[in-house]
Symmetry: C2
Subunit: 301 residues, 2 copies
């Protein structure tokens, strides 16, 4: 197992890694850095890492594993800042949602350094140093995308690290990862952001009405659309091709539904609405969502 | 207050009304009917109404208030079945998600009978006689759409009934209701059903992968896409015009985002992603959703 882990970027994911290591791997020392001094102060208060450093080079100097937890668009710069300070052989990984672009950025910025990108498929709509918690990765998958020629022993070691934090681990190539995540994460976020924007801009229906009657379904989309804007801008810039490809499919299917509604074709609607339940059942059976009605939401208000 | 309430259709909403009346209005007698004998048996076991009847005419005979809780497309037939059995002056209402079509169906099928359509904006993805619970309407809005010439005293009485079940009540015309609900409920359901269908049909990404990595956002859509297919088919058939109008707006906005992604225009993305958070805050502040991260979902699996 790694003895010293450095976490660069102390938001939701970075902070959760620090807390999860403290809980599950108490023998492992952690150092942390964030570019924002206010975040570093809060991280120190919450104990998001054993030592909070004021410079990235300082945080990584003795680390065996460095995990970059910054927005996808900031990966290259973050890698550049630690390039000269890394121990030879220290493994550099990350948590970003777009693996092709990050693999390129990290391998180019860190020649000769072992790099194995990773993506824990977990999160909430909150962000920043107060958002993290130690159990975020429990029962969630973490996808490793080792580049060609990666040391299998390091892949195994990184997989063990994530398993220790409660994750299940899968290995695939970066290209396939980007396609899978375009469907299961990026397009859902794009759709949610867009429909919330559409609803905000209507003239015939006020914002107050949209908010009041949101329990009809809309409120679910607002949770996703409350996610971190910088992170998500970077994801769409970085995973452009796969996102556009999947968006094309979705738009074609939506056009089909529009035609069915126009034509009053109830059978086509019923067929779709009936078969989508199977996927939900699969998700519940695999422990990937709460089986209680309405996610077990509390009665609130 | 009404002394006897008849509930026709004993699924999620009808069953919840029966249970809520028993809890909040113990002096009010309830009768219930469902077209499906198996549902009637289960309703009797769960006590979804004080008396479960084997014919709709029998259920409504002594009622002051009759609430039709059947799919939108079955409203006209359900109204026809009780037409001859209603007490003169008994108020007929419903719970459907499309008010123009239902107003037409009920007033045509029940000439001379007072009709005030209603829509409790509440629900879960579950359906059937086991899905209902007494607190479903707490803190949710119920929209009344009295037709021109409706008796104001009956509107007040129906509003009091829904408030007694824990609802907040709003009155608006049926046309505006249909536009508001198209945005806050119907389009979100259409989008959710469609993206779950798209994801199920991909060749490059397996169904198993979609399920495994659904925590990236997709799983939220599967909850909505597990809703009752008959109910939703009927909603899209009945509220066609408003749905198509709102779908047009959404598609135009989505096209704008596609262009931004194609062009690598991060500023346009960031602007949208940053302003959608305000709507989420409004929903939380108004008590229309759970403020905890991730809806307070339990760690499961």
């Amino acid at each position: 197992m790694f003895e010293r882990v450095a976490v660069i970027g102390l938001g939701l994911i970075g902070g959760s890694i620090g807390l999860a290591v403290a809980e599950h791997l108490p023998g492992v020392a952690t150092t942390g850095y964030d570019v924002d001094p206010a975040v570093r102060r809060r991280a120190a208060e919450r104990g998001l890492a054993g030592t909070i450093c004021d410079a990235p080079a300082e945080a990584v100097r003795e680390a065996d594993l460095v995990i970059l937890c910054v927005p996808v668009g900031a990966m290259r710069e973050a890698a550049g800042e630690i390039a000269g300070a890394l121990k030879p052989g220290a493994l550099v990984s990350d948590v970003g949602s777009s693996k092709r672009s990050i693999t390129r950025a990290l391998t180019e910025a860190l020649p000769g350094q072992p790099v194995i990108p990773a993506h824990p498929v977990a999160g909430t709509e909150h962000s920043g140093p107060d958002a993290g918690f130690a159990t975020l990765f429990h029962h969630r998958w973490c996808i490793l995308t080792p580049p060609a020629g990666a040391d299998p022993a390091l892949v195994t070691q990184l997989a063990s690290f994530w398993r220790a934090l409660g994750s299940r681990v899968e290995v695939m190539d970066a290209e396939h990862h980007d396609l899978v995540l375009a469907v299961t994460s990026h397009i859902p976020h794009l759709i949610a952001y867009t429909i919330v924007g559409t609803a905000s801009d209507l003239e015939e229906v006020t914002r107050g009405e949209v908010i009041k009657y949101s329990a009809g379904g809309f409120r679910d989309f607002t949770r996703i659309a409350a996610s971190d804007p910088t992170m998500w801008r970077d994801v769409f810039l970085a995973n452009r091709d796969a996102v556009l490809e999947m968006l094309e499919r979705f738009l074609a299917d939506l056009e089909g539904m529009r035609e069915a509604i126009k034509a009053g074709d109830g059978d086509t609607m019923f067929d779709l609405f009936a078969r989508t339940r199977a996927i939900r059942r699969g998700i519940i059976e695999l422990g990937q969502d709460d089986a209680r009605p309405d996610f077990g939401r509390a009665d609130h208000g």
